[in-house]
Symmetry: C2
Subunit: 295 residues, 2 copies
């Protein structure tokens, strides 16, 4: 059994290869180039790692898990492309490179994001028997709900509407539960959906794990926005504060935010202990990584 660092490196390399195979080189009129730019060679791949770790916990279908891992990353990548556009956050730096609209123009960036979302669902529905049809359908269901109006897109709408407004902690939590939490949680759920005959209680425990890790990720993001610099982050640091966006740090302060992240990690670990599953080591280590990361 490889240690966590080795496993992480191996899984990232698998995901990178698979994305490179699946994101088209030959899409018309430069669209493929823009899509690949937005997805390849960058990012921490947190969502794919969550899918793959959850699939390992339930001894899930390997091909389905790899496709789900890539699909969740495609949704994440498309959301970044659109989020960076001038009409949204108007950001120029992402993963240490110019953002997609800076590189390719706004229209191409818009289309590339749109095509990445469609590609996510295409990856989940291969022809033939590579993935059982019922598993394909469940994976699409989980991803579509997490990406849509009651998930990520809804969270972004709240985010837009919240600039310059004071939010209470419950309101901030509700926003992040959708904006980043829904897709992180769906990543865990999709990994779990790659298993066959997983007990309902275990699925529920993994859902609790995903909720805790999803929120922890955002709290740490808010902390890093204040404490890290742009070079470390690969994106513009301090931009939430500059944009007068409510964050955990602005609401609770740095120390209480760190305590909250630690508490959420403990909740995630407790959910794994309660799951009755045996192969939860990767998920446990991922919760640690999410809280301890420096970018």
């Amino acid at each position: 059994m490889p240690d966590f660092a080795t496993w992480t490196a191996e899984q990232r390399a698998r995901v990178e290869r698979a994305l490179s195979d699946w994101v088209p080189v030959d899409a018309p009129a430069g669209l493929g180039e823009a899509m690949r730019y937005a997805v390849l060679d960058g990012g921490k791949r947190v969502r794919p790692l969550l899918v793959l770790a959850a699939a390992e916990a339930v001894q899930g279908h390997a091909e389905a898990a790899l496709r789900a891992a890539c699909a969740s990353e495609l949704i994440h990548a498309y959301s970044l492309v659109h989020d960076d556009m001038p009409c949204m956050d108007d950001d120029v730096l992402r993963r240490g490179k110019p953002t997609a609209h800076v590189q390719f123009g706004e229209a191409q960036a818009l289309l590339a994001g749109d095509a990445l979302q469609a590609l996510a669902f295409e990856l989940l529905t291969p022809d033939g028997d590579a993935v059982p049809p019922a598993m394909q359908a469940e994976l699409c269901r989980l991803l579509a709900r997490a990406a849509g109006a009651q998930g990520m897109a809804g969270g972004q709408a709240i985010d837009l509407a919240s600039v310059g407004k004071p939010l209470t902690e419950p309101q901030l939590r509700a926003m992040h539960k959708l904006k980043t939490g829904a897709l992180l949680q769906a990543s865990v759920d999709m990994g779990a959906a790659c298993g066959v005959g997983v007990p309902l209680a275990a699925r529920g425990a993994l859902r609790d794990y995903g909720a805790a890790v999803g929120l922890a990720f955002q709290v740490v993001d808010d902390i890093l926005d204040v404490t890290a610099d742009s070079a470390e982050l690969g994106k513009t640091a301090g931009k939430d504060a500059a944009a007068d966006k409510p964050t955990y740090v602005s609401l609770l302060g740095l120390q209480a935010s760190r305590a909250l992240a630690d508490d959420l990690r403990a909740q995630a670990h407790a959910a794994l202990d309660a799951s009755g599953l045996h192969h939860t080591g990767r998920l446990r280590a991922l919760a640690d990584r999410v809280v301890e990361r420096s970018n």
Copy 2:
């Protein structure tokens, strides 16, 4: 058996009710309002009618067909919202109303489009046994391929890259095959996929029908852009010519474009004759309607 006008009115009303039920009223921060604005009370519903007519031809699963009909319209509606944005076609009038970004701002329009795409896949994957899981998976596969880089989004990328450039007729055809043809064809394919045990030859014939109708639709669009006024169209007339976009009319002239549309209608009818299916009357009449429409 109701006549075609009655059938069309009934099916449109069914689709309208279903969309109104399924496009969320309560999505956060006004997002649901923007989504509903972009989808409800407007449009010819050509794609839903193609889905439902094809499903009728194969005596398909009713619930699956209604969901597929709405899903294809959601993809169409999202593409219009994004296509109208300032960085794309920069249009202010659609279906006789201000475009979504004029009404709600660019950021909200961008998010509404994104959320409508996700909702399409959510509609195709209901919980439980309302639609057989293998049918859910196939419908998602057909729709994702038609919407993505090798379909509609790819066609839009070619369109963007073609402004002000001379295209040959084969190049124009290749663009439209993706930009509008892919989703129209997928609508027919999705309707066919709601059948069980449909012979492969019949599926192939319906695919030929969809290809012919899809291209005919675009040729007629180009004709109407020149011959109709904005009030009839519910969108800005003459804008392709104004934008120096290649069209069938600019390439072939009006008379040859009309002849091409008639020829494509004949091809569509011939494909139905070759299908071996008995209930193709609605599809036949839809091909007529696509060619004879005035808006």
